[in-house]
């Protein structure tokens, strides 16, 4: 046996698992085909997109100051400097991971791994180029292990209509490279990735159009949370086409010609670039899973139990490859639960709430039960909300479009879910996640003193509404 544990994939799930396993005294190898650790999240996902959204928000905030009497001139954008600054963020974090791995004596192997059987990983160099100094590549062509945690993540999904070899058509990875600021950009798919990147390019000066197949942006997210964002996007974007499909794209000399078909008439339009952001698909193929007893569901996710064990006693799976939601923080917690279970601890991945954040401006964040889910399940809930227009802090920021709401179990008053739209919603939702994990009630939130004047007060105030009235919001008593 070469090693006790192999973690295949060095993203936030994989490295969290590998590091904890090393801390628990296991002999661990972390296999990743990238030259740097961090996976999609760090290299071409969460982190670079947030770096660029930080820029976009700063530019928007500066513009916003005009209504307070402060005017700046037209911003000058140095794209090379922006790329380099974003690169620096990635490089800092990735080298930090490398150091931490070394300190923990986690053997990092840069290779592409394919399972030959339940206990053997065949390693091939990936890519077959010389490795940087001091890095260990493929040591043996086979790695034997007792257990392997699959943390291979996901990749952008594609659509056959976009199977056109054109540098103008990009996925989220391409968009984050920031090759240029196209004059016009078509974003295909109104999910969070498309909207976040669409906002970045809009801030930098592109005319952005979004096409979405369903009748709303951010399908699945509660309508009342989407509404304030949609209002803002209608101002920032050139066009939002809902219930619309791109049926064809064709490469023209200096543009991509896209044909729309939808609720309105058929339409042909030209764009400098197209961003295809129609979801992600799990990296469960090309892993050699067919040589093991692990099973894959119809959507391509590896089937796992509460300890993230697959049907194969030697294999576990975490993160995007192990199912929805495809979120880094979910992957990291799954990784820790899987390793603790391997170590014989009473661990299980049984969260009550996995927070989700859309890092647009305003941000949208939710945790636990949503109204859409409650309706689908026929579950009776009480929805109480607090509009940010009644928040002193929101007024002082000029950001009154926000909303904070709780879903409450009517007889018990226990909190079931939380939804927030507004500036900084992603930070605010953390309190809601803790409340849900603790099984808190509306009373708990209402009587927890929130600092004034902050947006966090809206969480307490929304909970107060369960009892009929809040300090800053008058509503005739009903009980």
């Amino acid at each position: 046996m070469d090693t006790q544990l192999v973690v295949l994939g060095g993203g936030p799930g994989g490295y969290a698992a590998a590091f904890l396993a090393a801390d628990l005294g296991l002999k661990v190898a972390l296999v990743d085909q990238e030259p740097r650790l961090g996976g999609t999240c760090l290299l071409r996902g969460c982190i670079p997109s947030k770096a660029l959204l930080h820029v976009a928000k700063g530019m928007a905030d500066a513009r916003h100051l005009a209504e307070w009497g402060v005017r700046y001139g037209r911003p000058e954008v140095d794209l090379a400097a922006m790329r380099a600054r974003k690169e620096k963020v990635i490089a800092t974090l990735s080298s930090g991971l490398k150091q931490v791995a070394a300190k923990r004596k986690v053997e990092v192997i840069r290779a592409h791994g394919v399972l030959e059987d339940s206990q053997t990983l065949r390693l091939t160099p990936s890519p077959p180029t010389p490795l940087p100094q001091g890095e260990r590549g493929v040591r043996d062509d086979r790695l034997r292990f007792e257990h392997c945690i699959l943390a291979t993540g996901s990749r952008p999904a594609t659509l056959p209509a976009f199977d056109v070899a054109s540098p103008r058509i990009m996925d989220s990875t391409g968009a984050l490279e920031l090759a240029d600021v196209p004059e016009s950009l078509l974003v295909v798919g109104g999910g969070y990735i498309g909207l976040e990147l669409g906002l970045v390019y809009a801030a930098l000066g592109s005319r952005v159009s979004v096409v979405e197949l369903t009748d709303s942006l951010l399908p699945g997210v509660d309508r009342d949370l989407v509404k304030p964002l949609q209002k803002r996007l209608e101002k920032e974007f050139a066009a939002i086409h809902l219930q619309t499909k791109v049926v064809a794209v064709a490469e023209k000399p200096d543009a991509i010609e896209a044909t729309f078909e939808g609720a309105a008439e058929k339409k042909v339009e030209r764009f400098s670039r197209v961003l295809v952001s129609v979801g992600r698909q799990p990296n469960s193929d090309h892993l050699g899973l067919e040589n093991t007893r692990a099973e894959i569901d119809p959507r391509g996710f590896v089937a796992v139990d509460a300890q993230r064990r697959t049907r194969d006693p030697h294999l576990l799976a975490i993160g995007d490859v192990a199912g929805q939601p495809l979120l880094a923080h979910k992957a990291a917690h799954e990784g820790k639960a899987a390793v603790e279970a391997l170590a014989g601890q009473a661990a299980a991945f049984e969260p009550r709430a996995i927070p989700a954040v859309v890092f647009t401006d305003p941000e949208i964040a939710w945790a636990g039960l949503t109204e859409n889910e409650a309706k689908a399940a026929g579950r009776q809930v009480e929805v109480v909300q607090f509009p940010w227009a009644a928040s002193g802090r929101a007024q002082s920021m000029g950001r009154t479009e926000g909303l904070t709401k709780w879903l409450v179990d009517p007889p018990s008053g226990r909190l079931l879910g939380c939804g927030i739209v507004g500036s900084g919603a992603g930070e605010l939702v953390a309190e809601a996640v803790l409340a849900l994990e603790m099984g808190a009630s509306a009373r708990d939130l209402a009587e927890t003193i929130h600092p004034h004047p902050t947006l966090s007060e809206t969480l307490g105030a929304a909970a107060e509404m369960f009892f009929g009235t809040a300090t800053d919001l008058y509503k005739p008593r009903r009980r």
Binding site: A341, G344, A374, E382, G413, G439
Partner: protein, 447 residues
Amino acid sequence: MRALRLSAATKNSASLARRVTTEPPGQAMNIDFKLPELGENIHSGDVVNVLVHEGERIAANDGVVELETDKAVVEIPCPHGGRVLKLHVHKGETIQVGQPILTVEAEQAPLAAAQPATPVTTPQAAPSVATAIPPHPGPLPQGARGTAPVPAGPAARRVARELGVDLTAVRGSGRQGRITLEDVQAAAAAQPQAAGEPAAAPGQPGQDAWGSVRRERISRIRRTIAEQMVRSATTIPHVTNFDDADVTDLERIRQGVPPGTLGPDVKLTLLALVMKAVAACLRRHPVLNASFDEPGDQIVYKDYVNLGIAVDTPRGLVVPSVRNADRLTVAELAQAVAAIAQRARGGQFGVEDLRGGTFTISNMGAVGGSYSTPIINHPEVAILLLGRARWLPAVHGEGHDRIEPRLMLPLSLSYDHRLVDGAMAARFLNDLIHTLENPGTLLLASP
């Protein structure tokens, strides 16, 4: 200054506390409750008990039948509450997964009623919930749809998993019924059989400080065996006598019986002959066939001899009993032993087969070995373990001047020293040896 009360806000106030009322109309509807999937490779089970009757009103997740499967006896909860209109199964029947068990006239729509089996614990109800642990702790209610979440945080939930505590049955001492770590620990302490028992992920490969280990959840059968053994070993002062019986002649007689005499597939085994001898001896030494009614300060002498035969099955040790063994012929005993062996292979013993024994014989001979110290099958008072008969040199002749090879059967008799004195046990064992060494006496035994 505190925030302003705004017209924008009051304008919205009408919609502030919307209720999403998607509760289905409260009309009655009939629901067939079918035997759900019970686990891998379990396709059917025997109804050991029907726990409800027609016309009875049941709550959602009430147990409705007790089912014995290959693996265990389990109580099957019905996720639908309401009035039992019709029972489709009866005791003793074998039912398949998917077969209807009963029809419920439910007041709730099936969607809401079919939620995961976790009792609703509302704060209003919590104070009346005793701290006692229910006999069948269910899974932890992790974000179960349709019930309010149990007010316990991740740390308390993990400790509950570790200690095997069912949080739905724990009364929280904190505000709003919040279950603290201390509450979980107290509940575990009040539940001695579960305390300290790692509830972690059975079947899971893992590590301890010394190497790789694998945990496996024990079966119901194994749990029963464990409880029986502890009870017997801790309440009965065991004494074991060892001896040998010369079964050379008995074996010659056994081998003299042509195959097929007792019926097809029935072999005359040494065990059947020993059973005949033991049954006869128990009639003559009734205290070894008795039981101890300890609370009543009484010895219960049995006028019947039901011989329990300890059998190794794929599910673990079971002890089916042969009824009225003293009144059976050697042929009938041999047939009974053959039938037990047959059923042991299938692992199919009913609860009734396992009850009512008065004395147990454990036959180690097939596996090998000579002596052991068997543990008495409570509430019996003695158990006889047969080793493997082997040829030994025996001293014979008037002047002890002749050594002969003799087939010797090792016997280990454990007895409850509270009721059976050493001399009584020795007399019984001597009688048994005498009977086995003089097979002619078996001819005189009744019937």
